[in-house]
Symmetry: C2
């Protein structure tokens, strides 16, 4: 019987997760039931939201229990099928978790066409990452032609796509990132109008004021904390803050204290709105068509960092990503294509 | 020549304003120019927003300068007129400031019909107060039939109207106020489903959870601070926070620190939006017609506290109001009707 290597949660992390908070186990794969398929996972996605899912606090989804397989999106190929609609050889993406093989029904699968783009993009620019950037800007941020758009975590998976989508929407785009190399990449390769390294900037507000001379209409926030505190008073009247992530806060054991700035929201009539991409599922296919068109026309670039170490390397890739070690989308190669 | 007593700003307050931060001056009234009218002020409104206007920080409007007449809405009667459209004897409301007489053009005036309701209501339920409650709930809070609505500063001018409008909209309404008498008034007289006294409650979140068993769909926030910190995690998915005021913060010299809760906005996809009623001016007349209808049908009650001491009593009435001394609308009688 074929064995399946899985990464399970070994203990609830305190602060930044450690590799010892995870454990690799090997379990035998059962036979397929009717209408099920077996997927050999090729790429696994590791993302900031996973930190929340292992915190033990009930959020929008149940937390991962101790001893349970880590959750996560992945892409792979069907190697056994009892489904009439998804034959062996199909490339599929779904929420397969951190494991080498997934046995699943077909309703939650999305077919991936390897002729359109490399299959890894189903986890990135043509998947949740691209969709998050798209809906965050347009639906939550209500982005309009000519807006001044500021993006924190701009070199991350979502931020790097969001900046390019904003440029395609005729906006002026400024990014905030954590290394000089990332700042260079944003401005030289991805077309951001400006960017700065928050780790070498002593006064965030001064940098933002300098780089956003027209103020900020849309703030796409991936990080929160002191950076966001600095942005709020610089929002334009009727500006919108799309709250995508708060990675600066995810590893804190206690809520961090910060200056209260809600009075500023009145002065500027600012809207601050959190979102989850799943709320826009009804419009995914339309948005994916748009993202695919931009990608095909060479208007959208994506960065992937692929950890080649197999399923056992997933914890380290995840922990490095939480610390900003990546540019763009962080993937783990689980098997060869 | 007739003399006009005015209250001018004598010094920028530090923290809670003191009476000595204001000074009464007497100035002669000039003759009217063409199309101008002279208004004898009858009631002056004192409101929380005025604290921001004397802080010296440029906000949505220029701050009141030292030696300048305090800003404020008022209602009065025209005693001289060089306008064809606004004859002597007309009741009018406008932004007349803290003074006994105002000389003004007629474009910024609104005529008040004393047959519909007492003229003081032009400053309250049939004026900015009622409009703020109405647009805050419906436009910013996107209030819908059956919603669970929570209101802080619920016994204040805006809060007490907002709660009644929410009841008229078939919502379940809970108020937060600062005395047991206010709590009684909200539940026994104004029809709130429940209310609690935050000054005698040690654990805000527990009280809110108990009184809002269905969570909170719309939070109409007049106060901010620790009360709002407690509400945010209790918002329902896709809940809306209408940020009307932050009176707990207005007298602070330094921004207060509080726990960062933006991650909660993602979990619940909460919208937090500040607003100023002036942004909805295009729809004022429609909303006033609705408010007037409810008032006429006896469906809307209003509370006024009238300080009878004349223009010189305005500073004290303002300072008392900032400390929650009032229930409902705080007015100052400047002259007899």
């Amino acid at each position: 019987m074929r064995q399946n290597q899985q990464v399970v949660l070994a203990s609830r992390p305190e602060g930044l997760p450690k590799e010892s908070d995870f454990r690799v186990v090997s379990v035998p794969l059962r036979d397929l039931a009717a209408d099920e398929v077996m997927v050999r996972v090729i790429y696994l996605s590791v993302d900031p939201y996973m930190r929340g899912r292992i915190s033990g606090i009930k959020s929008y989804a149940e937390p991962v229990g101790i001893g349970e397989v880590m959750v996560g999106g992945a892409v792979g190929v069907v190697i056994e099928s009892r489904s009439g609609s998804v034959p062996v050889g199909s490339y599929v993406t779904g929420f397969f978790g951190w494991q080498e093989y997934a046995i699943t029904g077909t309703k939650s699968l999305r077919l991936v066409d390897p002729k359109i783009a490399p299959i890894s993009t189903a986890l990135g620019v043509l998947g949740m990452t691209g969709l998050t950037a798209y809906f965050g800007l347009y639906r939550v941020g209500e982005m309009r032609d000519g807006d001044s758009v500021l993006i924190s975590g701009a070199a991350g998976a979502v931020g790097s796509i969001a900046g390019q989508i904003a440029k395609l929407g005729n906006c002026r785009v400024v990014g905030i990132a954590g290394t000089d190399a990332k700042v260079d990449y944003l401005t030289r390769e991805l077309g951001f109008d400006a960017a700065f390294n928050y780790k070498t900037t002593s006064h965030y507000a001064a940098s933002i004021t300098e780089l956003c001379p027209q103020g900020v209409d849309v703030y796409f926030d991936n990080v929160g904390g002191a950076i966001t505190d600095a942005v709020i008073p610089l929002m334009n009247v009727h500006g919108r803050v799309a709250v995508c992530g708060q990675i600066s806060q995810y590893n804190l054991e206690q809520p961090e204290m910060g200056p209260r700035w809600m009075s500023q929201l009145i002065v500027k009539r600012t809207k601050v709105q959190g979102f989850l991409v799943g709320d826009y599922a009804a419009d995914f296919s339309k948005a994916l068509a748009q993202l695919g068109q931009w990608l095909g026309e060479g208007k959208l670039r994506y960065i992937e960092q692929i950890e080649e170490g197999g399923i056992g390397a997933a914890p380290k890739a995840f922990i490095d990503m939480l610390q900003g070690g990546n540019s763009g989308k962080q993937l783990v190669r689980i098997s060869q294509d």
